[in-house]
């Protein structure tokens, strides 16, 4: 989804490393002084516009939706527009925020969660407990989503992920989890946190089995795969929810999927999530906002409107490797969600520092 703010039309892209050898002289041809020109132009185009840097800025809209946070080039247009914007501010901060009790609802949701989950944590494992856990999860997350005024459309529910599989989706924000879990519960993969969030996670997992890791275990890919495999082989557990991009992207494209999730021999249920930018920007820029700031931003937007598409289950074919399978799943998600299929690695936004130390 190209923004309306593109500066150039790129012609000499070296996005795919394979084609790099095409721009240098072919081996049988002789070197000429002009051969460098292709690379020079390509380099300059990259300086002006590259695929990675622009993915980590919030999406720009073609018209203004009366939220200053999505307006990058402020220009005074008219008194009327400014008045309209001011009325919007009053509405959002003084009316919608307290009146629809978004914060209150969220607090209520969390209390509800513990009240209903607590009895479950005391129970021994049984058929009843599992059914109860299913519904407890659903209700709790639905209330949480109300707290953010999340309006979500689910499509193709016949493809909903089943137990014993892995659900993969594109990642824009932590709210992705809430939005998916309000339709059916999942087992979440996560790092054991400290603090409030960590406590919340631990309590949740007493009722429903999730897959938790210590920070040190996260590096050991074999160990992670083994744990996921264990979880998935038990039919009674909920399907695992994974975000293969590994980080939050601004919802205009899907970056490279880490192949780890795709090496595990089980069914993959792809899900595409697309947020409607008109009502508010769901993208969590973790280097810009802390969690609390982000939640406040979300609660003072108009609403969080999203579309979720459940895509048909996919399995890795015998003749393809994990990377190819990951690409295949990714392109299916992109096509459904109307997102740009980007080959670059989202982790580059953090790792780029390493390149510069050379």
């Amino acid at each position: 989804m190209a923004t309306s703010e593109d500066i150039i039309e790129k012609e000499n892209s070296i996005n795919r490393l394979g084609s790099l050898t095409n721009c240098v002289n072919e081996q049988h041809k002789n070197f000429e002084l002009s051969d460098v020109v292709y690379l020079v132009k390509s380099g300059i185009e990259a300086v002006i516009d590259d695929e990675v840097t622009k993915r980590f800025r919030a999406e720009e809209l073609s018209s203004w939706n009366l939220l200053t946070r999505t307006n990058f080039h402020y220009q005074f247009i008219s008194i009327r527009l400014s008045l309209l914007w001011f009325a919007g501010v009053v509405l959002r901060y003084c009316v919608l925020l307290p009146l629809s009790n978004r914060i209150l609802v969220t607090c209520f949701a969390l209390t509800w969660l513990f009240v209903t989950v607590f009895p479950l944590t005391l129970m021994a494992d049984s058929e009843f407990k599992r059914k109860a856990a299913y519904y407890v999860n659903l209700v709790a997350f639905r209330i949480i989503c109300r707290g953010f005024s999340a309006v979500v459309d689910y499509h193709d529910k016949e493809n909903m992920p089943q137990s014993g599989g892995i659900c993969v989706a594109n990642h824009t924000t932590t709210l992705d989890v809430a939005i998916l879990m309000q339709d059916r519960p999942y087992a979440v993969l996560g790092q054991i946190h400290g603090g409030f969030l960590g406590w919340m996670m631990r309590t949740l997992s007493k009722a429903t089995k999730h897959v938790w890791f210590e920070r040190s275990e996260v590096r050991d890919r074999m160990f992670v795969s083994k744990r996921i495999m264990e979880h998935v082989s038990d039919e009674r557990n909920f399907p695992v929810l994974l975000f293969p991009e590994g980080t939050c992207i601004n919802n205009t494209s899907v970056m490279m999927f880490k192949k780890g999730s795709f090496e595990i021999p089980t069914t993959i249920y792809p899900v595409a999530i697309k947020y409607n930018p008109w009502f508010g920007d769901a993208f969590w820029n973790s280097s810009k906002h802390s969690m609390v700031q982000y939640l406040l931003v979300v609660m003072t937007s108009w609403a969080i409107v999203a579309d979720v598409w459940y895509l048909p289950a996919m399995k890795r074919q015998p003749d393809e490797n994990a990377m190819q399978f990951a690409e295949r799943v990714k392109s299916v998600i992109c096509r459904r969600g109307g997102l740009v299929d980007c080959i670059w690695d989202g982790q580059l936004k953090r790792m780029a520092r390493v390149l510069s130390w050379k």
Binding site: N15, V24, F31, V36, K41, S42, V47, I48, K54, A352
Partner: protein, 189 residues
């Protein structure tokens, strides 16, 4: 002006840049937005690291030379004026473009020449040719073959046999290359 750090673009600056480079004001504003998004620490200038942080640029074998073109001599910082001056070389040119415009054919050729001419002495030596060749092909070809290619290129271009390629000789060699299109970036309105 010098390397004055500035975080906002004033009207007079936009006009001055317009005069100097020929970019339109909306292009300048968008490029300023790009400049600030590269300027991670909001210093008002860019360092070599800021450029090399761009993955698509970092994998380009000529990355270091291209980045060098933005920096004047031994300086460590590029401000927005200098940034635009370098980019101005890549504006599309036509038959009507005057010789002293930054995007004229001659100036585009000078840009490419300066990539080869590492010590900026106005001549490309065989050593400088070899350096570029090494950057381009890496370890795939051995020293002797590389030397052979450099030698051959030198002989083809060096018409006065002084074992160096001057800018005039360079221009002659490049006369058939469509520099106007190959060294122009398609800026959108």
């Amino acid at each position: 002006m010098g390397s004055k750090a500035s975080l906002h673009l004033r009207e007079e600056e936009i006009e001055a840049i317009q005069q100097e480079t020929g970019f339109q004001s909306n292009q300048i504003i968008r490029l300023f937005s790009r400049f600030t998004s590269l300027d991670k620490e909001q210093n008002g200038f860019l360092t070599r690291d800021d450029f090399m942080r761009i993955p698509e640029l970092a994998i380009n074998p000529l990355a270091d030379r291209i980045v060098d073109a933005f920096f004047n001599g031994g300086e460590e910082h590029v401000n927005f004026r200098q940034f635009m001056r370098t980019l101005a070389n890549f504006r599309p040119s036509s038959a009507k473009t005057s010789e002293d415009s930054p995007n004229s054919r001659t100036n585009k050729l000078k840009f490419v020449f300066s990539l080869y001419d590492y010590d900026s002495d106005g001549m490309i030596s065989k050593k400088e040719l070899l350096q570029i060749l090494k950057l381009l092909v890496g370890a795939n070809i051995n020293q002797d073959q590389l030397s052979h290619i450099a030698e051959r290129t030198l002989l083809e271009s060096d018409t006065n046999n002084d074992r160096h390629i001057s800018f005039e000789e360079f221009k002659t060699v490049m006369v058939r290359t469509e520099i106007d299109t190959k060294m122009s970036v398609r800026f959108l309105d």
